[in-house]
Subunit: 136 residues, 2 copies
DNA sequence: CCTTGAACCTCTAGTGACTAGAGATCCTAT
DNA sequence: ATAGGATCTCTAGTCACTAGAGGTTCAAGG
């Protein structure tokens, strides 16, 4: 049985965040001490690790909630793999998009020759999407 | 002079978003018709194009606000380039991070052999960060 | 046993960049 | 003159937290 502070230190998840996860239904309401403070057991530690790991991988709380359900009632892991696959394709799409932005921003910055007194090519280009090559 | 709806259609920015930009101080309070409806001029169109383009590139409203100020009082474009450079390095950091996540997720999904009745390797791995190679 | 002070409690509000809805008013085309 | 689409303001909700106020409890040292 440990306090919320120890759970926090053990997992790296901040105290208010743990309480937030409880309110959000990801962590079950724990036991309480005589004075009303939260007391956690081993299973809670594992569950919080699971959540923290999922968040670290960029999964939404919604997705993690779903995975926890699957984990709770075990067996079929098709859904779990589907969630992971969906997330993976999200990540790939985001990478592709960011790479387009990277290219575009590099190009925009180059349209300015920094001539003293002249208008800034970068700012001009921002006002005129017509100058852009790809879309974003 | 056009209505907010026409401005919206001309820029692709939704009507409530335009009002939000006004409230956020990015768009100046426009003229009003006798009945109190917003009436926009050419300069507003250009400014909104600028904002939309910046957003499309992933700039924060804060950054755009700053760029608009620079644009308004012209001349020195050092700051503008600094904002762009900062954003570019943010983008690169995000790409790198997402690529690490991509690798890790691919690996996690592979730890499961889908054996019927066996626990899901993916879910197990999510509970145990110790199995991970990089950090995230 | 008592005190101290760190940790804990609940509750409210704020973040960024919008989006959704209610209920009322306006504008334009017929 | 009227119909109905567009607009108005205002409030509240989204996601995943974070910050702060003001009060209570716990554990260690004396």
């Amino acid at each position: 049985m440990f306090s919320i502070g120890r759970l926090s230190r053990a997992t790296g998840v901040k105290v208010p965040t743990i309480r937030y996860y409880e309110e959000a239904g990801l962590m079950p309401p724990p036991d309480r001490s005589a004075g009303g403070q939260r007391r956690y057991a081993r299973a809670d530690l594992d569950r919080l690790h699971f959540i923290a790991h999922g968040r670290g991988l960029g999964l939404s709380l919604e997705a993690i909630r779903h995975l926890l359900e699957l984990s709770d009632k075990g067996r079929d892991c098709t859904d779990a793999h589907q969630i992971a696959a969906q997330h993976l394709s999200d990540i790939r799409a985001r990478i592709a998009r960011l790479q387009r932005l990277e290219t575009e921003l590099e190009r925009l910055a180059d349209t300015c020759d920094h001539a003293p007194g002249a208008p800034c090519g970068l700012i001009e280009a921002l006002g005129d999407h017509g100058q852009c090559l790809g879309e974003h």
